[in-house]
Amino acid sequence: MAQLAELTGSIASVGYGLAAIGPGIGVGLIFGNGVQAMARQPEAAGLIRSNMFIGFALTEALALIGIVMPFVFGTGS
């Protein structure tokens, strides 16, 4: 099959850019809705904040796994 395009340089950085889209949207949703919930019900702020951080940790895990992948699969950088 004929080669259509060639990519030189760091493919890992392009990959991380793609991998960060989903977590980016997710973290935005979590904190946006968290702040909205706290504004609607300020007395529950503490409970909302701790649950918000748990959700944030789970979502950001994806972006963090994305950071590590280039190191795991070595030579692409």
Binding site: G46, R49, S50, F53, I54, A57, A61, L64, I67
Partner: protein, 270 residues
Amino acid sequence: MGADVTQLASEAGCHLFSGCGFPAPGLNEFEFEPIFTIGSIEFNKPMLLAFLCAFLVIAFFWAAFAKPKLLPGKLQLVGEIGYDFVKRSIVLETIGKKGEKYVPMLVSMFFFIWIMNIMSIIPFAQFPVMAAIAFPAGLAAVVWFTYMFLTFKTHGFVGGFKNLCWPSGIPGWVMFILVPIEFFSNIFVRPFTLAVRAFANMFAGHLLIVMFSIASWYLLSPSLGAAYGSVSFVVTLALTAFELLVQFLQAYIFVMLASSYIAGALEEAH
């Protein structure tokens, strides 16, 4: 370019329009010559800074609380504010009343991490210790051992595993998917993300500051003077202020998550 990229801009005397490319900083900013070696252990700058930070935290709290008074002095007041911050805004909100046993551990962890991060912008130190993966990994290991131990201590062996990977109030058929995910996430992903989050934020922050400080030296040129370089310098200052926020936030998130993992371990069986 190529080999001379690894040189520092300040050493190379490399400027715009002087016929040399931008000496971009890379991983070489994070590798240090050992100060001295004992056997096969190389003692380098991050280790020295880590010892210094531990000493600072111990000395501060020793000075603040060695002879506690009913009417606190200035130092004791600052110490109490710090202790109360972690206790009220982190521990009591995630674990609740029975979490008071873990406040000392989390307070010392919070201040240790924060001071190690702040080292990023202290003159002559200028390296966030948490940007060397071994330090966040070690701290995450402490958190991992703590919450695993507490899980099995409060629930026993079978109950501990049930607590770790059997979420309540879920219809049975979802369990086929959920239990492996929960197991994997609670035992392997938690300590990994805890370490890598702190590491990656400090790593990226340090690289940004180094990048713009090198750029502000590089952009000085005979023909343009400080026109470009000063812009880059202002960005360096702005980033330093931003990093100050990030350093605090990362310490806060680390301890917040450690505390909520402990809360999960102490949770009553459902």
